[in-house]
């Protein structure tokens, strides 16, 4: 109980309250700018808050973290450019919804669901942190591989008609993800001896190009066709809709928490798995998926905010980062003289609750700040292309440059813009390529890691899939999903039902 009283510290201390609010507000807008990621914002804060009190710095960082993860949804919906990799899945239904003239409602729904997911995530952090940490440690290379496979199964949903085309670009994406130094052997792959390629291709650069710059090229190519959609309707999602989506959102939030807790994978995979889950379990969506389904927004948005609570679990209990942002926060703790690790909970238990309390508070702030900005943001959709396109181009350049302060990345984003343009005019979807780039490195490292752990013996490797409980559960889920999609099974079910 005494510990829980630390949870409310950020609520009662005006200074902390103010810093959480400021952080959340800033986070939303930084997150909404494509290319400016939460990781980057947190790293900037690291320098800014160096001389601050520890708790002040943490309060602000938690605010930025929360706001930033949410902010990415805005550009994803309004411009079809995900603000960060964690918002890629939000474009699938968010942008079609905005095109229907319901951007306001979409943003409102995203706000409510992000807050719901974030609060669920924080609750899991507060009450089940040790359990979740044990779960995360039970994951071996083999299980990460299975997780990546699950992500890859989303491919079917993104094919937009032709599965072969989707498969082709996904493979291309996987290969792009492999460019750079092999993380296992250090061998350069597809680098043609250049250092620019040896550093690999940043996923954010690919997203900026494939979604952002290619959109500019598309609109330039058929300028007359682009029409301004009049925005109508409400901002607040009706209560009935929220209640109807709640069971789904609880499930996707739990997915988000657990994916977030796994060291090394973060919001981008949580959101993709959340979307996939919605697509598979919701039989009668409000509208077909891909055409502005509310479920397609609620699922990834709740999952990526729930991920925050999850990612903080290994950070606070073990000192091991759950994602890229928590890696930076660990750096912040070190600089402030704390030792993130298992002793953090023992030596400074109050810190755990203050952090959890700040995240909880930040999500409540999100509810307010989120709705405040919508009225302004949704007008973005009505901006004439003559102003919007140069704006997007500028954002692409700034975002790409900001990643590593490197002009090479700007050139890359233009290159990906052209690739995206060529794919789109040939009616090939670009999203599978991003899926490939996100999952490629994970597939590669985990598969080879698992094989090496089995001494490169195929028998031992395969046996692991049934002998380890975690692997067995994951393999079964994948197997059942594949079976359920086979024609034979579908036919069987139809006759059984009829």
């Amino acid at each position: 109980m005494e510990m829980l009283s630390n949870f409310v510290v950020p609520f009662l201390e005006p200074r902390l309250l103010g810093l959480v609010a400021l952080g959340t507000f800033a986070g939303i807008y930084v997150g909404a700018i494509p290319g400016l990621t939460v990781t980057m914002a947190t790293a900037l804060l690291l320098s800014l808050t160096y001389s601050w009190e520890m708790l002040d710095a943490l309060a602000m960082i938690m605010g930025v973290y929360t706001g930033g993860v949410y902010g990415g949804a805005r550009s994803a919906m309004l411009l079809n450019i995900p603000g960060a990799p964690a918002s890629v899945a939000t474009t699938f239904d968010g942008y079609p919804l905005a095109k229907r003239g319901e951007a306001g409602l979409g943003l409102g729904l995203a706000t409510v669901m992000s807050v719901t997911g974030g609060l669920i995530g924080t609750m899991f952090l507060v009450f089940f942190a040790p359990l979740i940490a044990d779960f995360a440690l039970a994951f071996s290379h083999r299980d990460y591989f299975l997780l990546a496979l699950m992500g890859l199964m989303l491919l079917g949903a993104l094919s937009g008609g032709s599965f072969l085309k989707a498969l082709f670009v996904a493979f291309l994406g996987v290969n792009i993800g492999l460019v750079g130094l092999d993380t296992i052997t250090g061998t350069p792959r597809f680098t043609y001896g250049t250092l620019a390629l040896a550093q690999g291709i940043n996923i954010v650069v690919a997203i900026l190009g494939l979604f952002g710059f290619s959109e500019v090229l598309m609109q330039l190519a058929n300028r007359r066709k682009s029409e301004v959609v009049a925005q109508v309707g409400r901002l607040f999602p009706p209560l009935r809709l929220v209640v109807r989506l709640l069971p789904l959102v609880v499930r996707t939030s739990v997915i988000g928490v657990f994916v977030g807790a796994l060291p090394g994978v973060g919001g981008e995979i949580a959101a993709l798995l959340g979307y996939d889950h919605a697509k598979r379990t919701v039989k009668q969506p409000s509208r077909p998926f891909g055409e502005g389904a509310f479920e397609g927004i609620a699922a990834p948005e709740s999952a990526n905010n729930a991920c925050i609570g999850g990612a903080l679990v290994p950070m606070l209990t073990l000192g091991i980062p759950g994602d890229a942002v928590t890696a930076v926060i660990i750096g912040a703790l070190v600089i402030h003289g704390l030792n993130p690790g298992p002793t953090l909970m023992i030596n400074t238990p109050e810190l755990f609750y203050v952090v959890a309390g700040s995240v909880f508070l930040a999500h409540l702030m999100l509810l307010v700040f989120g709705f405040l900005g919508i009225e302004f943001f949704r007008r973005l959709v009505t901006v004439p292309p003559g102003y919007l396109l140069p704006g997007i181009t500028l954002l692409t350049v700034i975002g790409a440059y900001a990643i590593n302060n490197d002009v090479t990345d700007v050139v890359w984003s233009f290159g990906f813009g052209v690739i995206g343009f060529l794919l789109r005019i040939n009616r090939v979807p670009v999203a599978p390529m991003v899926l490939g780039i996100i999952l490629g490195p994970l597939l590669d490292e985990s598969f080879r890691g698992a094989l090496i752990a089995a001494n490169n013996d195929p028998g031992t490797f395969l046996l692991g899939f049934v002998s380890s409980p975690v692997s067995l559960v994951l393999s079964t889920v994948i197997l059942l999903t594949v079976l359920a999609n086979l024609g034979v099974f579908k036919a069987l079910r139809r006759t059984g039902g009829g």
């Binding site: 440690l137 250092l195 930076v328 750096g331 690790g341 090496i452 001494n455």
Partner: protein, 335 residues
């Protein structure tokens, strides 16, 4: 016409003024250094070991220099991207490279033609000692037991590995046994692998593993060093347990501050003084102690000597396990 003549004349005078100004500027550069903010390039991502040490010392050094040190993370290609970048900047002391030991290995691993020989060390701030750790209830009591088991049945033990040129890669090369090196992306993920029981042992920096030992989750089989660490007298050291490894030790990753070679000597001296002062502050020393990093504080000849020894030991070890090309091709002597 007249106007134009006058304009050309004015242009000439202005040009001459600029030239003179530039000349004075060059001479005055060192005395007035630093005249503007200095940028410090960290070759790794924010939050990592190199990043935190660099930020800690840069924040103190800027107070000595009277100008801000702007931190810039340029991760990629194990630091080669940032190294090349700093090398492309003018040698004026306004771009610092906040490097770790990796630069010693670029040439033999083919990452870059640059090495520390292309930079001037301002200060080698600190070094870390590797620890060989296993789960607390593991069957090995000593490092010799573990090494004995791997001698009997090669490839039977899984050791967490962060890459062929990382800490575990070099130390396993030093041990010369055929472990099954299971790859992990970084020490944190690797320790999670050990805690979860997916590998048998891990070789990581002391700072990364210490707390797990203190909380009874892991136990230390050996500190990779010749002498006992004063703070942890109970931890066995490799050099004592297995004297055959003494010749390679001490060995560990280290952190330093560099400028491009050719930077004017007065500028280098000014930076050296500022960073040495920052290094000797209580705040920085406490920071090092809290993170189990050991102070070095080397500059000038001493720094070069330390660096050359490290370069020789490591490159030749890696060459033996085929993780690097022949060091003699780059004039790196064998010790």
């Amino acid at each position: 016409m007249n106007d134009r003549k006058r304009f050309v004349g004015w242009l000439g005078r202005a040009g001459a003024c600029l030239l003179v100004a530039a000349g004075i500027g060059g001479a005055a550069q060192a005395a007035d250094y630093p005249e503007r903010d200095i940028s410090a390039v960290i070759p790794f991502s924010p939050g990592g070991g190199t990043d935190t040490v660099a930020r800690a010392i840069a924040n103190l050094a800027e107070q000595e220099l009277g100008r801000s040190i702007i931190i810039q993370n340029k991760p990629g290609a194990t630091g080669a991207t940032a190294t090349e970048y700093v090398h492309q900047q003018p040698a004026d002391g306004y771009t610092l490279l906040m490097a770790a030991e990796n630069q010693n290995l670029y040439r033999t691993t083919g990452l870059s033609q640059l090495s520390f020989h292309d930079f001037e060390p301002i200060l080698l701030a600190a070094e870390a000692y590797p620890l060989i750790v296993v789960q607390n209830d593991a069957r090995w009591k000593t490092i010799s037991e573990l090494l004995g088991e791997i001698d009997k049945s090669p490839k039977s033990l899984k050791v967490m590995n962060t890459g062929p040129v990382g800490i575990s890669g070099v130390v396993t090369a030093m041990l010369g046994k055929s472990f099954n090196l299971v790859p992990y992306k970084g020490e944190g993920l690797g320790l999670a692998g050990l805690l979860g029981g997916h590998v048998d042992a891990a070789i990581v920096s002391m700072g990364a593993a210490r707390q797990y030992v203190e909380t009874g989750k892991l136990k230390v089989l050996a500190v990779v060093a010749n002498e006992k660490v004063a703070k942890f007298p109970d931890w066995p050291v490799l050099g004592k347990e297995r004297p055959e490894y003494q010749k390679y030790l001490p060995w560990g990753p280290y952190y330093g501050v560099y400028v491009k070679k050719g930077t004017p000597q007065p500028v280098v001296a000014k930076l050296q003084a500022a960073f040495k002062k920052a290094w000797s502050t209580d705040k920085f020393q406490k920071f090092l102690e809290a993170n189990s990093i050991f102070p070095l504080g080397l500059s000038g000849e001493a720094a070069l000597k330390y660096q050359n020894r490290w370069e020789s030991v490591t490159n030749w070890l890696l060459f033996e396990v085929k993780a690097a090309s022949d060091p003699s091709a780059f004039g790196i002597p064998k010790i």
